[in-house]
């Protein structure tokens, strides 16, 4: 039976072959987006549902300090509903938060955010993309009025130049990387902006090795060349954009000379990149965490948007602005309204008309005040007194781990709903065991807005239940306590039908029946509509219909190396693992990459007397972790790189919680560290 990969935003279609309750082989059908190809995670990493760490029974603890004990679903749900309701009565809606998960289905996210808004009256709803693409979302929304990939993945075959910034695509979106690299073998060119010699850098026509955290300077310098040499698209800028003049003037300080000093990239190479991008008609920009996870993440994404607008690349086939979404359903979680400032379909909480529509649709009054973002919720403990956490592991994913731990300890009430035990489960007051993607029905939306089916090929183990069922049942009890409306959906398809009615212009044409065949891209207003491939062909989603330039200025990273901490730590992922490692490290993938390796440049290694494979401490102002040194020139001199998948050596114990002022994303990509030999 066909289903959708649960790891990354590519959304590969796969056919797990199940024998005697086990996945024995995974094939990929010849359908978009992957057309038969998979990466190691989708191919060999789907055995986490069989892990010994599966949560099998509901559990609760009466008071802090008591052990978790196994209880019935009835008891766990009643207990949780009462505690949430009491908190609401005693402390008001601001004291509660619900975190749906970008790993659960659209239907489940929709229901969870609805529970928060309708039954708990709070907009304190957010999910993990706060920590990955919130910067892109902020930049794209204000400039274009929409925050997704503007072009479909099929456009890769029509693209003549790829501008890939801060994306280790070969390891984080491997199937997309394989497509791009194949297109490059067919003759397209590729500019890669990255401090590390990644698989993409290896395949690039032009690799610009920037110093970590300086891409914004480089992009502005490219833009300055474009303006100075008259390579910008006059007709496009005049017809379709506003704010060009002020932006063009703001570029004055970004000369090639200065850029060379700041970024470390020779000025002539920057000029070459600028010319190539501006003069290739079908030039598509792709980016990921290397752009977003900085204190100036939003500004850097904005710089990329500005550059694309000036050269007329948005709304064109084979071009566009394409943030590569991380989690399998990050796109869907945003679409479904798992964000504190927007309702489903990105309707702004603060806008009266939007709010009215949902008040009428759900039959409850909604607060006009946006809620708190995830990072702010953790800061607001203990004023925030209860969190309903679905499929997230903040202990591993939040920056500055020791601080997160203290906050979780101070939180009066925590519900953890998940499939596997993780680093956060010990803090739970109630544990709801959830069904994995192999054990339930629903839809995920991949990085290029394609809504695709998830199908049940196995029965959930023990007493585990699908997330939608758990949220529905919790909602049923909250509704009884508060007297608010809570229609009981029979299953995922019924929830999807409500979503279609809630978002007719976006999802109206997408029915489960249609999805039997293959995924459909939103916006899709009617059943005979094919689904939109390229966004903004005619107009942008802003009030004026024009895209807006926003001048952005370079600021150095929040922490720079000094004598005590002379190296820059950059964090990221490796091919074999996924995020906090909860899934991948409970699968066969663990065998291929069992422990933390930190990349160290040979020159730094020589200076510090560190040999390849030696154990070292990585130390920052906030903590230390142990790792094995991998001496390699993939990473530049002065920079060490560590993946953050390893709970026993969490890179996020070292990272700081300096935030982007707009998106509130933490600066995961730059912190000052030193290496110490173990003995």
């Amino acid at each position: 039976m066909r289903t959708t990969c649960p790891y990354c935003g590519v959304g590969c279609q796969l056919e797990p072959e199940v024998r005697a309750g086990r996945v024995v082989r995974v094939l990929a059908p010849d359908l978009p987006p992957n057309h038969g190809a998979l990466c190691v995670k989708g191919r060999f990493g789907l055995d986490f549902p069989f892990s010994g760490k599966r949560l099998l029974y509901p559990m609760l603890r009466e008071r802090k300090g008591a052990p978790l004990r196994r209880v019935s679903w009835e008891e766990a749900l009643d207990f949780a509903a009462h505690r949430l309701h009491e908190t609401l009565k005693a402390h008001g809606p601001e004291a509660l938060a619900v975190f749906p998960s970008a790993k659960t289905t659209n239907e489940e996210v929709y229901l969870a955010q609805k529970l928060a808004r309708v039954l708990l009256s709070t907009h304190n709803v957010d999910h993990c993309s706060r920590l990955c693409h919130s910067s892109s979302t902020a930049a794209l929304s204000r400039a274009l009025g929409g925050a997704s990939m503007t072009n479909p993945l099929e456009d890769i075959w029509k693209t003549d130049l790829f501008l890939v910034v801060g994306s280790n695509t070969t390891e984080t979106h491997p199937v997309i990387a394989a497509m791009i690299k194949k297109r490059v073998r067919q003759g397209a060119r590729m500019i890669v902006v990255d401090p590390r010699y990644t698989g993409m850098a290896e395949a690039a026509t032009l690799w610009l090795r920037v110093r970590p955290g300086t891409d914004l300077f480089l992009l502005n310098a490219m833009a300055r060349v474009v303006v100075e040499e008259g390579l910008w698209n006059r007709a496009y800028v005049e017809e379709r954009t506003e704010g060009f003049q002020a932006w063009a003037e703001s570029l004055a300080p970004y000369t090639l000379e200065r850029a060379e000093e700041v970024t470390g990239v020779p000025g002539e190479r920057i000029r070459e990149a600028a010319r190539l991008y501006a003069t290739t008609e079908r030039a598509g920009a792709y980016w990921a965490m290397g752009v977003t996870q900085h204190t100036k993440g939003t500004a850097t994404a904005q710089a990329l948007v500005n550059l694309a607008l000036a050269t007329g690349k948005v709304g064109r086939e084979g071009a566009g602005l394409n943030p590569l979404r991380g989690q399998n359903n990050v796109q869907g979680a945003g679409d479904m309204g798992a964000l504190p400032d927007v309702l489903p379909g990105y309707a702004k909480v603060a806008e009266e008309e939007a709010r009215r529509r949902f008040e009428a649709f759900w039959g409850v009054p909604l607060s006009p005040k946006p809620g708190l973002r995830m990072t702010e919720v953790f800061e607001a403990i203990p004023e925030v007194k209860a969190i309903y956490l679905i499929g997230e592991d903040p202990m591993t994913s939040e920056p500055f781990q020791d601080h997160t731990k203290a906050q979780l300890e101070a939180l009066p009430f925590l519900i953890v709903q998940d499939i596997l035990e993780n680093e956060t489960t010990p803090f739970a007051d109630v544990v709801f065991p959830a069904a994995s993607f192999l054990e339930k029905e629903g839809t995920f939306t991949n990085t290029d807005r394609r809504v695709q089916r998830v199908r049940r090929v196995l029965d959930p183990p023990g007493e585990a239940r699908p997330d939608w069922w758990i949220t529905r049942e919790l909602g049923r009890r909250l509704a009884a306590l508060s007297g608010r409306p809570w229609p009981l959906h029979e299953g995922p398809e019924a929830i999807w039908e409500e979503i279609r009615r809630a978002l007719p212009g976006m999802m109206g044409g997408i029915s489960y029946r249609r999805l039997e065949k293959e995924g459909v891209r939103w916006p899709c207003p009617s059943e005979d509509h094919p689904g939109e491939a390229v966004l903004f062909r005619e107009r942008f989603n802003t009030p004026s219909g024009r895209a807006r330039f926003f001048p952005v200025d370079y600021t150095p990273p929040a922490e720079t190396p000094d004598e005590a901490y002379p190296l820059t730590l950059s964090t990221g992922r490796v091919l074999f693992h996924w995020h906090g490692g909860t899934l991948s490290r409970n699968s066969r993938l663990e065998a291929a990459y069992p422990e933390l390796k930190v990349e160290v440049n040979p020159r730094d290694a020589a200076r510090l007397g560190i040999a390849d494979g030696e154990r070292v401490f990585v130390v920052s102002r906030r903590g230390r972790i142990q790792a094995r040194a991998w001496v390699t020139d993939r990473t530049p001199e002065g920079v060490v790189y560590a993946p953050f998948h390893f709970a026993e050596a969490p890179a996020n114990r070292l990272t700081q919680d300096a935030l982007d002022p707009i998106s509130r994303i933490p600066e995961y990509k730059v912190s000052a560290v030193r290496l110490e030999k173990l003995d």
């Binding site: 086990r22 996945v23 010849d30 998979l38 191919r43 060999f44 070969t170 491997p174 394989a178 291929a592």
Partner: protein, 198 residues
């Protein structure tokens, strides 16, 4: 464009492969890897000459025969040689075809083959059991130009001794292999198969 297939007039679009017009067995051909023209199982007669249907485009006025006694004999012999040299126990389609063509591999006597080779288990994900390999090269193409651009697999040896392997015969983890398993998916004989299946 019109042509004649097995005595019947047919309409075909420009650039169509003969494979789309006739029913012939295939082995090395695969749409994702664009591997073609290697195994000779799909040979057809085109204007009196033998051509692989998977690598020949239809042309105006062509005359194609796909199922002559000569072609059948040829396919039968090819299969007999495969059966003699290779362990086809995990290739049910080839076995069925051999049965349908009444293949009798025994009539060639003993032939030195790869059947005795030991399977290579050098990674946590899949096995390379070249006793079962028919040299179709789909895996090599999937890993290389066809899909991945990784080139962790290459062909070594010539003629009957040709077989796929890693560069310098290194264990897979010491090559650029990323364990995507795309080679495993396209392998038609079970020579590459997930460890979970073993």
């Amino acid at each position: 464009m019109r042509l004649k297939v097995d005595g019947k007039e047919m309409e075909a679009r420009e650039g169509a492969l003969l494979l789309e017009l006739v029913q012939v067995p295939t082995l090395c051909h695969h749409p994702h890897t664009e591997t073609r023209g290697l195994c000779r199982l799909c040979l057809v007669e085109v204007d009196g000459r033998l051509s692989p249907a998977c690598a020949t485009e239809a042309r105006e006025g062509m005359e194609v025969w796909s199922d002559t006694p000569g072609l059948r004999a040829l396919r039968k012999t090819l299969l007999e040689w495969l059966l003699l040299t290779t362990d086809l126990s995990l290739a049910p389609e080839l076995q069925a075809l051999a049965l349908a063509l009444e293949a009798e591999p025994g009539r060639w006597g003993e032939v030195p083959g790869r059947k005795g080779r030991e399977a290579i288990e050098d990674n946590p994900f899949f096995l390379r059991d070249y006793a079962k390999c028919v040299n179709c090269r789909r895996c090599v193409d999937a890993c290389g130009d066809g899909i991945m651009g990784v080139y962790a697999l290459t062909l070594t040896g010539r003629g009957l001794l040709a077989h796929p392997t890693t560069p310098l015969d290194r264990p897979l983890p010491e090559t650029p292999c990323v364990f995507c398993g795309n080679c495993v998916q396209v392998c038609p004989t079970g020579a590459l198969r997930p460890l979970t299946e073993v």
